[in-house]
């Protein structure tokens, strides 16, 4: 049960969004530009960073929904996403993404944990400053989203099929509500 009287029947972050539309709009728009805007990292890669950070933060709603979104960007391949969350260094993803996930993992623990060695590794694997910047911002933003969702004890579905549907919508329609 949520800590405050959030709208009934809405899960996770959508209940907070409905409760406070003033802050929902920029949060939705930020998610849209971070995860779906023009970028040299694919939406699948960016969604994997979001799912990975959310998993490390133990935010079930965010990690499950963004895992599903990542999988739908990857032609429904959940195996890669699960492998990234379990042990990204052995997952079948690029060396560049592994380096960016290392940085994202450091940010999840605390911004000052990012080291020059982490950044040097990302550069060696071909990451640009823009890609490193974006990985850091995605990780930082999801730490905030995760704490928002869990700090209010929002409704967290347990049915994997519900997240699959959510992820499909997120991947195909995005995060901004069209009127």
């Amino acid at each position: 049960m949520a800590h405050i009287a959030l709208p009934e029947g809405l899960a996770g972050i959508t209940s907070g969004f409905a409760f406070r539309p003033e802050t929902a709009k920029p949060m939705r728009e930020l998610a849209e530009v971070l995860l779906r805007g023009p970028n040299t990292l694919t939406s699948g890669e960016r969604e994997m960073i979001a799912a990975f950070v959310s998993s490390r933060n133990d935010c079930h709603f965010c990690q499950a929904s963004h895992s599903a979104a990542a999988a739908h960007h990857l032609s429904g391949n959940y195996d890669i996403v699960e492998a990234v969350k379990r042990d990204y260094e052995s997952a079948p993803v690029s060396a560049k993404l592994k380096a960016l996930l290392t940085i994202a993992g450091r940010v999840q623990q605390g911004g000052k944990n990012v080291t020059t060695a982490d950044v040097d590794r990302a550069r060696r694997e071909g990451a640009t400053d823009t890609e490193i910047h974006d990985a850091v911002l995605i990780a930082a933003a999801f730490c905030m989203f995760n704490r928002y969702v869990d700090g209010l004890a929002t409704l967290t579905p347990t049915d994997a099929a519900a997240y699959d549907q959510m992820g499909q919508r997120m991947a195909t329609q995005g995060y901004v509500q069209r009127s």
Binding site: P26, L34, G37, V119, T130, D134
Partner: protein, 82 residues
Amino acid sequence: MSSVRNAASLYLPGVEIDHQPGPYQKPIADAKNRAAEYSKIWDLFAFKNEFTVHLARFSQGVLRLPVTISPGVRQEPPGHHV
């Protein structure tokens, strides 16, 4: 003498030098022309205006929109409450 603590360079020089048109471009240029220090978060805000605009709207919504908690209390850092 400046009261601003020396700010270290960012570890992303490509971010530090690439100030896009937007609200932070001129203040950074002015500070540099005066050889004055400025908060390095301005470099981040100036780097990708398409991100910054949403962060700014979010901050405005959280910190400035009318609610029963005053803007002053909302800005107060954690731990300052007695």
